[in-house]
């Protein structure tokens, strides 16, 4: 790729940074050039985020149907699965699975709630009072 063809499509870098791209200059020599981004990258990144949002919506539907606890929504929001969440809260997976159900969630003690809240980046109040809006 030549330096004048290095794309500058603003997107996922959000003006926060620019990425290094290797390209050849007019003498055919490789140089490092900054790029704001490239449309195909923006597209596939967006696609990955769409999937995360789908998971959040699925969680909300389950919560509304009384089949899941708020933890499921925040787990999806934090791009976690049961295995990863269990590692972060330092509990076995089967216990986390229980806490994903409304019944198991109600039995959580204060220190467990704060452990979940901390890992999920919210306050205990936010976790307890979460109501899906759709």
């Amino acid at each position: 790729m030549e330096i004048d063809k290095v794309p500058q499509d603003e997107g996922i870098t959000e003006g926060i940074t620019r990425e290094v791209q290797y390209a050849v200059d007019e003498n055919g020599k490789y140089v490092k050039i900054f790029s704001k981004g490239w449309e195909p990258k923006n597209i596939v990144n967006e696609l990955a985020w769409d999937d995360i949002h789908d998971n959040m919506n699925d969680a909300n539907e389950k919560i509304l149907a009384g089949k899941a606890s708020p933890i499921m929504y925040f787990m999806a929001k934090n791009q976690m699965n049961v295995a990863l969440l269990a590692e972060y809260v330092e509990l076995p997976k089967w216990r986390v699975k229980r806490h994903l159900k409304p019944r198991g969630f109600k039995k959580l003690k204060q220190d467990q709630l704060s452990s979940y809240a901390k890992v999920l980046g919210i306050s205990v109040e936010e976790l307890l009072n979460y109501k899906p809006t759709n």
Partner: protein, 334 residues
């Protein structure tokens, strides 16, 4: 205390950190040189390793390997430490080394990295950065994929050094402890190129090297039918991300390798490497075309097999090009 450390933005974090750590100690080797000597160029399709539930297609060997090979071939000794479940000790030890006026490379998870653009933040744990000073609660950070140096608080740095999940860093940190006065750079370059050519051409498993590209090309044709439109698009999108997202220098490291070959041509005083660099640029350009076409196919989440067949055909062409390239390179190494 802030060390006089030069922040050098790089295409790839691992090589970028090593290159700038060595520069601090007076050894000038570019990111591309470290990448080439460490045999960073590769292709692997590993359906049994899943990232976000999607089989892994990788354009480089496993994290840490490029760096280990490069250090070995250059005769550089690195001190490496990990701290399983001991975050406080990991931070204390980092402070101790910084006080000796040595910049330190650390492995980090990306998800909690506060200075990253939010769209970059996924649970990927094999990111690397250099810590080059501390004042009060603030650590000075040189992250090669960022345009400018940045900072993290004590708590933030501790958190990313102890990210959980696959490839968790466990507080891993490293820094050079001995660099030889005389380096046989030509020999290191030969070893690096030889291994890359061998790995691309001769691994007797169809998932690696040019065989791997051909194998994946066959699989891609079946994706829309086998997986449905949504999942097929997610699979293809992940490939584009492996080729382009944070830290490949473009086209799945192919352009970095072309830059390496130009440096080789100067060191060896051999124009033939410069000519090969041009071939590698063409291969990189084709991978860019692949990404561009693949993104278009993903965008509409269409299950039309035409889009998938088009990129699969292009992959076969690239596999042939890469095969021819490494056969030519091998001839020069005799």
């Amino acid at each position: 205390m802030k060390l006089d450390f030069e922040h050098i933005p790089a295409g790839h974090c691992e090589n970028g950190v090593i290159s700038s750590l060595l520069k601090y100690h007076g050894l000038n080797l570019s990111e591309a040189m470290i990448f080439g000597i460490g045999s960073g160029y590769f292709f692997a399709y590993m359906p049994f390793v899943k990232v976000n539930g999607i089989p892994l297609a990788s354009f480089r060997p496993v994290p840490g390997m490029i760096f280990a090979r490069a250090a070995k071939r250059l005769g550089i000794k690195m001190k490496k430490q990990s701290f399983r479940q001991q975050p406080k000790k990991a931070m204390d030890e980092l402070d101790k080394i910084l006080e000796k006026r040595l910049p330190v490379g650390v492995q980090a998870g990306v998800f909690h990295l506060s200075y990253f653009p939010p769209a970059y933040r996924f649970h990927f744990n094999a990111h690397n950065m250099t810590v080059y000073g501390k004042e009060g609660d603030t650590y000075f950070i040189s992250d090669p994929v960022m345009e400018y140096p940045t900072t993290l608080t004590y708590e933030e740095l501790k958190k990313v050094r102890f990210a959980k999940g696959p490839l968790s860093p466990n507080g891993k940190m490293y820094y050079p402890i001995s660099i030889p006065n005389e380096i046989d750079i030509k020999s290191a370059i030969y070893k690096g190129m030889k291994q890359t050519a061998d790995w691309m051409l001769t691994i007797p498993v169809p998932l690696f090297g040019v065989k791997g590209i051909r194998y994946l090309s066959k699989r891609i044709r079946k994706w829309p039918d086998k997986l449905g439109s949504k999942k097929a698009a997610a699979y293809l999108a992940q490939m584009v991300r492996m080729l382009e997202e944070i830290g490949t220098g473009g086209a799945g490291f192919r352009f970095i390798y072309a830059a390496f070959l130009q440096e080789v041509s100067e060191i060896m005083q051999d124009q033939r490497y410069f000519e090969l660099s041009k071939e590698m640029t063409k291969i990189g350009d084709k991978w860019r075309t692949f990404s561009s076409l693949a993104a278009k196919t993903c965008k509409g989440r269409s299950s039309d097999p035409d889009g998938y067949n088009t990129v699969a055909n292009l992959m076969l062409e690239i596999a042939d090009d890469e095969e021819k390239f490494f056969i030519e390179l091998k001839k020069l190494l005799k």
